[in-house]
Symmetry: C2
Amino acid sequence: MSENQSLSLNPNVSVDCVVFGFDLSGLKVLLIERENPDNTDGKNYQLPGDLIRNDENLDEAAKRILKELTALDNLFLSQFAAFGDPSRVKRENDLEWLRSVRKDPEARVVTVGYFSLIKPENFKPAANSFARKAEWMSIDIVPELAFDHNLILQNGMEALKLKMRTEPVGFELLPEKFTLGQLQNLYETVMGFEIDKRNFRRKITGMDFLKALDEKQQGVAHKPARLYEFNQSAYNHSFSPMFDFQ
Amino acid sequence: MSENQSLSLNPNVSVDCVVFGFDLSGLKVLLIERENPDNTDGKNYQLPGDLIRNDENLDEAAKRILKELTALDNLFLSQFAAFGDPSRVKRENDLEWLRSVRKDPEARVVTVGYFSLIKPENFKPAANSFARKAEWMSIDIVPELAFDHNLILQNGMEALKLKMRTEPVGFELLPEKFTLGQLQNLYETVMGFEIDKRNFRRKITGMDFLKALDEKQQGVAHKPARLYEFNQSAYNHSFSPMFDFQ
DNA sequence: CTTACTTAGTGTCAAATTAACACTAACTTG
DNA sequence: CAAGTTAGTGTTAATTTGACACTAAGTAAG
């Protein structure tokens, strides 16, 4: 292959989003049921994603994808990696939109991974007619996904862990008002280890961005917990690893 | 613009490398003198980079770019971000290789940023006929670069800081055998603050991957320091923020 | 050869942070 | 009203951190 040939095909560029959610049953990721499954036994999933448009940058593409899927704006969004193995194309080829819009059926697809955080209370796929194909899947039972999306998901998960260690982003996954139990549960789930309750509370309540409310949980079959809020404006963005238990 | 039109042009995809070096005079970055400067007064620089080839993945493209430039293999390399503002193209357009090989003069350029670490002793631009256009530039006197390369450089710098906080990669910037003074100097330079000498030594020598040699510095006009080596195999890769002075 | 200069190398203590640990309180359900 | 469940709370020992100043070993300049 001549040098000119090896350069002559411009790749497709897409954005794929790892959308995390968290509720009573744990950490979830938003998957899309595919139309043209490789195997006909059982469902076939992929991460939400799309080609970028000519007039948008990468962040805008990610926002558009999320908006089209969830109708939500202003979601937490963070780019974490680009994936460009030449063999990605062989599988990405069979995407409906790819087949229909691309000029060059041989061109590969380079994709940029973003992760996003949603309060599941704000997005229920079944309730949105335009999002019928979307589904919250527990992170620990994610099946084999299309393309290299398992790899992208894994990288997104690592990126989330790292982020949660250094910035108070966990609040994006919780309801506006939450209990310290829920917050601890979230950290334990994402980090993958248990945290001493009293040590956790001492540390987290010492941070200025956590605001205690004069309000309690309702309708639970045990002592109701006090509710807290995230106080964005009190967070000063100085870098210092936030959580280093263990 | 119809949806089809806005998707019809595939972007160019390139890789740009922020190559760091460190010596007595501080932290350096490797810049390339451009052939077609925008302004004719003074030199004009850019980061080393190139379009990816059809048969290589992103890491391979970065390795190729570095190999072609420095003739060095096995350099430390880490992807840190993708940049895809649509307006990048307007300036990237005038790159010689872009003009010559691309199909579509309107297509934008999406680029993936990598940073790399070199021991400057291993690469002296002036000595390599094929690298005459390369130049080590002190990080704090980097001029305005072509395209959005100042932004990419800045992001690369942040990525290096973060990496050095969590993994022992600084050794990639020092000679095989180095003194604790050099090591501390490197950390202070990259992190941007001073570190107490005794506290630094206590912490760093407590780490298993640092191996004291029975050898001393030679030819310095002061008490010669003991030399140390990085012991790759002793490093266990467990995540725990390595340096959190301040 | 003596002095000046430069960087290497070393220890202690107080303060802050972390880890480990167990019981009572408040609510719902049966 | 008993059982079940999660909330909420404090102390202590161990570890880590931050602050701090002097002597040692070499070269260079006079």
